[in-house]
Symmetry: C2
């Protein structure tokens, strides 16, 4: 993408309304724009990151055998009356009356709807196990939305729902999602630590939060330091192997890890002192097993192998991709701006033309841009007439992992500068070497 | 995908509530499920088709230089008061009060919001031309929603908005979208004919509808028969070349083509009799140039090259992907079910195991499934214990373009049957030949 043809409204001023770093940086980097309180437009750069996050989530959900569908945003209130949550939910639910005065709502979550869908379609244990997920916009009408997309009212959520014949099957489904979440966050360059959690309004009796560490995190967490060195499960792990899944979950839940609410000071004190870690954390995923909590009011049953009807055992599994964009920035930034992990960077490479109009510089940039693009690398080519200092600032602010600086002086020696965003290191290389290094 | 692990709730009965063929077939094929009046969940098979349509649209939008962003579904009423459309819009607009009693709405379209975004971000003619699009769910509260996703209340829309310094630039932007739409529909296997249209509530003075022919179409259309033989513009057409764009638009608008409202019987009579075509049509895209209709109330201006402020000239360009799924089925089906064009088929190939449990048949199916999948072909492998007749019916109903029938009898002769959905033709080939033919 040539920057001159892109839409990247960079803000040079630090926006006053933003009080956490991710919000400030996302506004400054032209990733989002507030449209109403807690409601944001995703500008092109932000959308690219959001889509990359969604695709990683999708690939890892699919790997477990979960199947994607897409439920609508607007739901009927009747569905929520069946579960009894319509009245419970309070003012966070955005309630709507349509033109015929029917009670509708903008879905804050989808347990009710997916249970209704499965109840209407699945009749036999032979269709199980089943895990259906979607990635759809949700709305929660927070009293005081703030922190940008970190806690917005309209937000994107991946929510998966598992259906099994019995508690044992449901445990296997739960464990598969547990393992998928470990892989998902690791692929995004995040160290996510699973911690036992309360089930809250979703209900149920088994739940884990996945927490990443960030100095600006919202809550205090306590864990064994070994978590930071644990390698995530490999891509070829067999999700159908219930014992292997349980072993992985056991392995990841044996070491001590707890949020403030669940903190056990005695257990924490038992960790060797140099391995005790107390830090700030951000919740990035939450999984629940809740048995027949929803299948019971919805009478969602299947015929078992013995011909008897059985209530479905369910779990639900959430990741908020829009919130995750902000969480990743909280965990990875510096004074200059965002530092994207390669897997979610909006562009892998920036080419900075430091003297537009100089024919040799223009030609070298155009050549690198064409070759890298042909090789499938996503490149943002800064071909604008901004001055060099401004181009450096923009590339660092938006966090491009690799930057090729092309100026007349080094180019006269046949060189360009290759800069790594994460540590600011620079190296003089030939354009051909730069291409070889970055072609992927 | 193994069908035994998929979620494909086929209906054997013809649903009573559906009164057009696409609605019936989408329900029967397990593509959608109604959640409320005019509100549908997209089940996995439907979502796959929807995503393929979106991706073709996206590729062709990007080819023109349009840039994707994503605006929220919920908008502030104040934005619509600025343009004066809040009161005009009537009951079709889903109006919402949030917990603080602020007037909000579920966006039926985005002219207001995108104008506000551009007004806040673009200051100079140097940032033009600009075309921003998004693919987002919209809501129009129809009095009597019907025909399934063909006319639903919650529907997906690709809407693009162009911004130019003057009418001449805006005309070029309009022409680029015109050409992109020709390519978009052609890639989906559709013959779409551009017809001069009224601008309606969007306003403006230049507008075309793109109409596909289908015997069940909603309106009568009249055109020159040569339209059906015209080849779409090639992929390497130069969208920056204003003259070339105008020439293409002229070429595609010279022959007579008109909807009922715009029909000119004298002009139609002047077409050679054997080339006169009167048929039923379905609108699948609509483009508008409306000048400063929105930039004026929003005071959306940029500095021109002469240093003077100028109001932006705008156009908007819509395709409804969710509606398009239905329109494509209206245009392409038979007694047995849907006939997908290859480009949007949910799976390219179906493998039908006609005797599950027969080790040779199981092995041949598994081998073909593995090889085709490895080659990047999307395969639905029917490994269920349904009887053969039911498998044939399902594969035809959901419209898989190619079907490999693997049964013990022909396999004993080293053969499988290769069936083409579009004409039902079957051919005995070796599994290796089937693979060679379908590997893409």
């Amino acid at each position: 993408m040539r920057l001159s043809r892109y839409f990247l409204p960079i803000l040079r001023e630090v926006p006053k309304e933003a009080d956490i770093v991710s919000h400030r940086l996302m506004l400054r980097a032209g990733m989002i724009r507030q449209e109403s309180a807690g409601i944001y437009a995703w500008l092109p750069l932000g959308l690219k990151v959001l889509n990359k996050i969604c695709n990683i989530i999708r690939e890892e959900q699919n790997r477990t055998g979960a199947v994607e569908l897409l439920m609508p945003t607007i739901q009927s209130a009747d569905l929520w009356r069946e579960s009894g949550r319509y009245d419970d939910y309070g003012k966070e639910m955005l309630r709507i009356k349509d033109r015929h005065e029917r009670d509708m709502l903008f879905g804050p979550t989808n347990e009710e709807m997916i249970t209704e869908i499965v109840r209407g379609s699945v009749k036999s244990y032979k269709s199980l196990p089943l895990n259906l997920y979607h990635i759809q916009w949700k709305f929660r009408d927070e009293v005081r939305p703030r922190f940008g997309v970190y806690r917005s009212r309209e937000f994107l959520m991946k929510d998966a729902y598992s259906f099994d014949l019995d508690a044992e099957g449901a445990r296997h489904s739960y464990n598969k999602m547990f393992v998928a979440y470990l892989r998902t966050f690791a692929r995004m360059g995040l160290k996510a630590i699973p911690m036992v959690a309360d089930t809250g309004p979703i209900g149920g009796n088994l739940s884990h939060e996945f927490i990443i560490l960030a100095s600006t995190g919202e809550s205090e967490v306590f864990c064994h330091g070994d978590y930071l060195e644990k390698a995530p499960p490999p891509a070829d792990v067999n999700f159908d192997d219930a014992a292997a899944m349980q072993a992985l979950v056991d392995d990841w839940t044996t070491l001590y890890a707890a949020t403030e609410e669940k903190h056990d000071t005695a257990a924490f004190a038992a960790i060797p002192a140099e391995r005790q870690m107390a830090a700030r954390g951000i919740e990035v995923g939450h999984i629940f097993y809740f048995g027949t909590k929803y299948s019971e009011p919805f009478n969602a049953k299947v015929l078992g192998p013995d011909g008897a009807e059985k209530l479905l055992h369910m779990g639900s599994y959430g990741i908020g991709p829009s919130r995750l964009v902000a969480a990743m920035i909280e965990a990875s930034h510096d004074e200059q701006g965002i530092i994207w992990p390669d897997a979610v960077a909006p562009f892998q490479v920036g080419i900075l033309n430091l003297k537009v109009g100089d024919s040799a510089v223009d030609a070298a940039c155009a050549d690198l841009y064409a070759k890298l693009t042909m090789a499938g690398v996503e490149v943002l080519y800064d071909d604008t007439d901004e001055r060099a200092g401004s181009k450096f600032a923009t590339a660092d602010l938006i966090g491009l992992p690799w930057q090729i600086l092309v100026g007349p002086k080094s180019l006269a020696d046949g060189k360009v500068e290759l800069k790594r965003r994460v540590d600011g290191s620079r190296e003089l290389v030939t354009p051909a070497e730069a291409f070889e290094r970055l072609k992927g």
